[in-house]
């Protein structure tokens, strides 16, 4: 049975022209699960609309 993230991995792999061989897929998926879990932790934190990102470009 396909894992929930497999369709997403296939789509992004195609969009970025980034090869993901079948043998790598379980590790890529496991890493992506960790990255998305941690990204959600950041996402859940409400920030004011005016918040600037940390890096500032100086012209």
């Amino acid at each position: 049975m396909a894992e929930p993230l497999d369709d997403y991995i296939d789509a992004v792999s195609k969009a970025l022209a980034l090869p993901v061989e079948e043998a790598w897929r379980p590790a890529v998926r496991a890493n992506l699960e960790v990255s998305l879990r941690l990204a959600r932790l950041v996402d859940e934190f409400a920030l004011p609309d005016e918040t600037e990102p940390a890096p500032i470009f100086t012209a």
Binding site: L16, A27, S35, V42
Partner: protein, 464 residues
């Protein structure tokens, strides 16, 4: 006079200055020690003996001619192999980069160390592309812990930790994106300085995560750490993130009293997921400094998560073309992490960078009432090479993912940190002395005071 392995950089420079020892003798002693022990430690990937001897002879000639010499005259040092060394391809721990043309010019920090009289003796092993906390490398083999060669050095500056911990050289340079100076310092029982983000130039070093990359020194004493740091400071137009602040020397300030400094222990997140050794080490340092106040650092777990997201996505962006063209030449574990990083949705990265600014403001508030924060450098002493899991409070946790949990929320906002080694038995472990931005002086003064009290010290290598 012969250079003994335990000689500090300050001791070597003093002996060379006073003509009790030549720079060439100091260099030969380091090269001999590398030859004797590096077969086991595997800390060096390149030994630049000819270059080092030529440089040492030039220093000796300057001394004979009565010319002014620098504060690090004749001091051997080595650099993580992501620093450009003229004549070598900058491999950054990878197989792929070995195909690069040799660097034409040294990294800025090497130039500044040599301008102060130091002598480069080689380049050091590291985790592939610095995406590592273990010091293991599938292409070059693992660097080994000088106190127990069956154990990890920590990474990604593993060779730097091993070379200084094993007393092959008194000073090494490394990089720290999420903990890669502080972790090897902890596991190898040495001092490491991760300066404020932007303090030291990264020009002509191979990057990993531009938002988070720092360079800094390792040493066996705080004086040596400060000497190296002072020699490397100053603006550099070749690094867009480098400060325009002038040089702010710390060496002359080291003996200043630390009484009156407000020292607190980082609580909450920083007291969780730690082994008893880390608790013991922080406790000893806190007791010596009379610190009893515990300060909660808000949202540290989220800060670590945001650092992780920025790291994996910026790292993926850096390596995207190599991932397309040469995926099989990566360490598979690094490749699979980077591919996953390329797949994180873009809004998450923007939110992580915005959270970074929010979190910076929270710490700035804390540093209004506190001068120093204490936290573990690592949750444990050095694990076994190849160890995958450890058990903490009855829960099995992955080693690699948990080594940097206490360093990541600090480098995330670029705070200066001195990692100090607490010489526990059987293995040392580090404590982070964390200060407000641009206050490396305070962190180094506190580290020096602890060293004088005998609370922290770099133990002699026990595994050699």
């Amino acid at each position: 006079m012969t250079a003994k392995p335990e000689m500090t950089a300050a001791g070597i420079a003093s002996a060379v200055r006073d003509r009790k020892m030549s720079a060439l003798d100091a260099t030969e002693a380091a090269l001999a020690r590398v030859k004797q022990h590096d077969g086991i430690l595997n800390s060096f990937t390149d030994v630049s003996a000819d270059r080092a001897r030529a440089r040492a002879r030039a220093i000796d000639a300057d001394i004979a001619a009565g010319k002014k010499i620098g504060p690090l005259a004749g001091v051997p040092f080595a650099v993580k192999n992501l620093f450009d060394v003229a004549g070598l391809p900058t491999r950054a721990g990878s197989k792929i980069n070995r195909d690069l043309a040799p660097a034409k010019r040294d990294a800025t920090l090497i130039e500044r160390m040599e301008a102060a009289g130091a002598v480069l003796v080689g380049a050091l092993n590291m985790g592939e592309y610095a995406y590592d906390f273990t010091g293991e490398n599938v292409h070059d083999g693992p660097s080994r812990n000088p106190h127990d060669t069956t154990r990890m050095t920590g990474g990604s500056s593993g060779g730097s930790g091993s070379a200084v911990g094993g007393a092959l050289v008194p000073i090494a340079l490394g990089s720290d994106t999420n903990g890669s100076i502080r972790v090897p310092s902890s596991f190898c029982g040495i001092f490491g300085l991760k300066p404020t983000y932007g303090r030291l130039s990264r020009a002509r070093s191979f990057p990993f995560v531009a938002s988070l990359d720092h360079l800094g020194p390792f040493a066996r004493s705080v004086t040596d750490l400060a000497l190296a740091y002072d020699a490397m400071q100053g603006p550099d137009a070749d690094d867009g993130a480098c400060t325009t602040r002038g040089v702010e020397p710390v060496t002359p300030l080291l003996e200043q009293s630390i009484s009156g400094l407000r020292v607190a222990i980082a609580g909450g997140y920083f007291q969780k997921n730690v082994f008893p050794e880390a608790v013991e080490a922080v406790g000893r340092v806190a007791k010596a400094l009379g610190a009893t106040q515990v300060v909660e650092v808000p949202e540290a777990a989220r800060a670590r998560a945001a650092a992780y997201v920025i790291t994996t996505t910026e790292g993926a962006s850096l390596h995207l073309d190599r991932l397309r063209k040469r995926p099989n030449d990566f360490d598979p574990a690094v490749r699979d992490r980077l591919i996953a990083g390329a797949m994180v949705p873009a809004p998450m990265i923007d939110r992580a960078q915005k959270f970074r600014r929010w979190y910076r403001a929270q710490l700035a508030q804390i540093f209004k009432s506190v001068d120093v924060l204490l936290a573990p450098a690592t949750p444990c002493t050095a694990p076994k090479l190849g160890q995958v899991n450890f058990t903490l409070d009855g829960v099995e946790l992955p080693v690699r993912a948990n080594i940097g949990v206490h360093t990541q929320p600090i480098s995330f906002i670029g705070l200066p940190v001195v990692a100090v080694p607490v010489p526990l038995e059987p293995l040392p472990i580090g404590v982070q002395i964390i200060c407000a931005p641009w206050r490396e002086d305070i962190a180094l003064r506190v580290a020096h005071a602890l060293e004088k009290m005998g609370v922290v010290a770099a133990p002699a290598p026990r595994g050699l």
